[in-house]
């Protein structure tokens, strides 16, 4: 599969919180047609890396270009689905309003949402198969349904790159399969980067894999080097190649 143009580049990116490094010397190129999985333990800097790409966090050193622009400007081409957030379940807002929220950066003062906004929102809800819930209050949905709505909210920005932070957290198994099928469809329209601590689930679907635990191990392929995986997870890991390549299991004691 052709990988297309470079859309995001990180060069020698470091990020420290109070002198403690969270990201160390990250070099990463994301291409137009990538479906990249980034795995790593909790606290390994996965969410931080996504926030750096979105310009929500400033790197201590290093350069980042997002669609050839600084992240704060390039992020208008990036859709983001944050880690299953602890938002207020009682927040008075409907599914429809949550999805339209994705258009808020494109609006003028004193205007209502335009017909285009409404069309994009209804297309996005159709894509994630949640249109029938448009008038439901967001907190009344299940975890997997909420995740779909948040994906729809990212889609209405018409992104060329979709960043997914632990999209399978709080989603039950059957719904996970459906979500992956959704990502399979979406990847024809945009690059996707998914971060997760769950190696086995991710590895089946993505084309490329990277490991992140402060340092990023990435070779632009799906191959993971066992030593690097161990360095990432700091425990022995067995790679078992069956029909499904690179299902990765932790060694039992």
């Amino acid at each position: 599969m052709p990988q297309g143009d470079e859309i995001v580049t990180l060069e020698n990116v470091w990020l420290q919180f109070d002198g403690v490094p969270v990201l160390e010397d990250i070099n990463l190129i994301i291409y137009q047609h990538d479906f990249l999985g980034i795995i790593g333990p909790n606290g390994g800097g996965k969410t931080t890396l996504l926030k750096v790409i979105l310009g929500l966090l400033e790197p201590t050193w290093g350069t980042i270009l997002v669609f050839g622009l600084p992240p704060a400007r390039g992020r208008r081409y990036v859709g983001y689905v944050p880690q299953f957030s602890l938002f207020d379940r009682e927040f008075p807002i409907t599914v429809w309003e949550v999805v339209l929220m994705g258009r808020v950066g494109h609006m003028k003062r004193f205007t209502r949402y335009s017909d285009k906004d409404a069309r994009l929102a209804s297309d996005a809800l159709e894509t994630v198969e949640m249109l029938e819930f448009r008038d439901t209050q967001i907190g009344r949905l299940s975890g997997g349904q909420q995740q779909r709505v948040f994906i729809a909210r990212a889609l209405v920005t018409e992104p060329k790159l979709l960043l997914l932070d632990e999209p399978m957290a709080s989603v039950d198994a059957p719904m996970q399969t459906e979500l992956y099928e959704l990502f399979e469809r979406l990847r024809e329209r945009m690059a996707i980067v998914m971060v997760s601590h769950d190696i086995s689930a991710v590895s089946i679907y993505v084309d490329k894999m990277a490991c992140l635990n402060r340092k990023l191990f990435y070779h632009g392929t799906k191959e993971l080097v066992p030593e690097e995986l161990e360095a990432t997870y700091q425990c022995p890991i067995n790679l078992i190649a069956h029909g499904v390549p690179h299902r990765v299991l932790r060694e039992h004691d």
Binding site: F87, E90, P92, I93, M101, V104, F110
Partner: protein, 266 residues
Amino acid sequence: MIELFQYDFMRNALLAALLASIACGIIGVYVVVKRIVFISGGIAHAAFGGIGVGYYLGIEPLLGVVPFSIAAALSMGMVGRRTRIPEDTAIGILWAMGMALGVIFIGLTPGYAPDLFGYLFGSLLAVPTADLFLMLSLDGAIILIVLAYYHDFQAISFDEEYATALGLPSERLYLLLLCLIALTVVLLIRVVGVILVIALLTIPAALSKRFTRRLSGMMLMSSALCALFTTGGLWLSYAFDLPSGATIVLFSGSVFLLTSLVHRAR
């Protein structure tokens, strides 16, 4: 009941309660859903400094509160966000400093401060007609700004970081929202006084949150509840000869607790 309205002071009291309810219902919704009750309480108390400044300068104290409470709101917001001081610590410090400034300015003012008690705990029965015009224009400003920024405020209330990722200037919007809270405090001072303002910024909104699934609906309902609480409390205070501000707060608080109990019992 009807004969009450023959008195100017009673008519002004009712008009003041209704004008305050408009702003209180709209802005209280943000205070509750964005979970910024503490900073709102801080702004309300720090506004007392403005009353002191008003006395000292010999101007109408409420006019002193407008710039002072906005300054307090902006400094709490910025110190909390941009320095390494934890936000709640910063709020606590500025809250007390604002009140202390008020006491100092009143101390510096020759003579004694008339109506001081009213600014602290409300004085619905002594609202001058000039104040009604001030309240009306503040309501107008608040409604206009909320109409212009409704979707932006909705986004930062739901998830501020995500709003930033969408390209919204979240911090500036947050500071603007704090300024609106400061203006609402000015409107509520006559009704319940700086010390009790936070009750009306939370109770009506928290009650209506249970029954609505849209912010706009929550605003309408909470304005209506606020009007009900203030006029109902005013009537109770008149009937039992009690201080109006405290009666309004206890009346609304009791309704809130009772409905919470009924809600749980179901």
